[in-house]
Symmetry: none
Subunit: 231 residues, 2 copies
DNA sequence: CGTTGTGTTAACCCCGTGTGAAACTCGCGC
DNA sequence: GCGCGAGTTTCACACGGGGTTAACACAACG
């Protein structure tokens, strides 16, 4: 499950990018009303909040922080985005937020602060992932799960599945797969790919084996088969 | 009485200015040696520490942080000053510092962060222990116990286990471990890691040896291969 | 000088990987 | 339907590289 971070009032440019880098996904509340926030909240709650105090009236931002802090369910760390001239306004409001970034917002700094506060809040699961349907691959733990079940993949199996899953629906020839997954200067038989696909299908289980489809005389493709639209 | 903040390795320009604005006085330790730090310490202890990681070898800065955290008397919040290119190096070291500022250092931002952390210092305590399943590590006494039994770990063993245990489930390559645990400029064979892992596993005992898992052709990981998710 | 901690070297071993061949399936023409 | 060939799946096996392990070298420290 990917952690969801509340974003107010928007999530664009470097902010979105930083969330990606930090391995969390945004839930955007444009108004910042508590009702809107509540509607966006996933069952597991928010992992944190990024509030762009430079993006709407400063007092509204402060009020939102206060309200978030008073909620029964925690939102995790609150990170404030402010302009330089707003720095003084933060004094005596230290309890309302956990960290802040001064604009213009730098992607790496924002991402680092996000990670820092999330991990310090005891959140271990901040990690880059590839998720596609029932398949989830955690790139930092090298663990892959299908429908919640852990698959015990070997190195090459993992790399192949990761490549396919990060490019769903696209068909790759065996030669392409060999060069992209195994390496450019790799020189080996094309049957190698077949065998690895077979092993992957076996570990995916009968139910999910079809996630890797054979495209006859072309190659392989990852994803659920797109049904031709009828009509 | 004015709070004293430890400054390493110097306190000039915007840094001094920011301390003034924040209303604290500096104690400058130019070398960053623990002995020097101790000599500077007032009876009431330090209120916090500002460490300019851009001002001396990064690894020394990290070691200093670690040592400060291990002291029996608290130093309060640790604020790191870093260059932009050092941001990535902060990852996986979230427990060693409480906040950071990216150069070029801005007086108001630095002052605001100082105030913020000093004021929040009371309610946010750094976990002095790492606990994971049967493993418990006391960061102050350098003692580690597994299932209640005290393990007699050497320095490197302790540091390696601590690093792995504070980042459970995550896979680290030998190179990463060498740079993060041993140090940046460390240049040694990758087998070194293997051997230390082996010694750790031996001391963990047969029953718990599996806490450090080998991920073939990738590296090592700490934790039980539990299924993730669930939240 | 023993002791203890740390890093290196090299032998050993095992598992992941690639390969060839057999079995099988699909598409096509008759 | 039948036969055929190209393409794919499946299997068993050999090899090599990566991991484990023990023994050694060496520095630090008393």
């Amino acid at each position: 499950m990917i952690d969801v971070v509340l974003c107010v009032p928007s999530c664009e440019g470097p902010i979105r990018k930083a969330l990606e880098v930090a391995g969390v996904s945004p839930a955007v509340a444009s108004s910042g009303r508590l009702a809107e926030v509540g509607a966006l909240e996933p069952a597991s709650g928010f992992a944190g909040a990024v509030i762009n105090a430079a993006g709407f009236p400063f007092n509204d931002a402060m009020n939102l922080c206060r309200q978030l802090r008073h909620r029964t369910t925690s939102v995790g760390p609150i990170i404030l985005l402010v302009d330089h001239y707003q720095l003084d306004d933060l004094t005596f409001r230290e309890d309302l937020f956990d960290d802040f970034v001064v604009g213009p917002f730098d992607v790496s700094e924002l991402a680092t602060r996000l990670r820092h506060r999330l991990r310090r809040a005891g959140n271990e699961s901040v990690a880059a992932r590839v998720v596609h349907g029932d398949l989830a691959m955690n790139l930092e733990t090298y663990q892959a799960t299908i429908a919640g079940r852990v698959m015990d993949l070997t190195y090459m199996e993992y790399e192949l599945l990761r490549f396919l899953a990060t490019n769903p629906q696209r068909v790759f020839t065996r030669e392409t797969l060999l060069s992209r997954v195994w390496g450019y200067e790799y020189y080996g038989g094309a049957r190698t790919v077949d065998v690895h696909v077979r092993r992957l299908r076996a570990k995916l289980g009968e139910e999910h084996a079809h996630l890797i489809q054979t495209v006859r005389s072309v190659g392989y493709r990852f994803g659920v088969p797109e049904r031709e639209e009828e009509g």
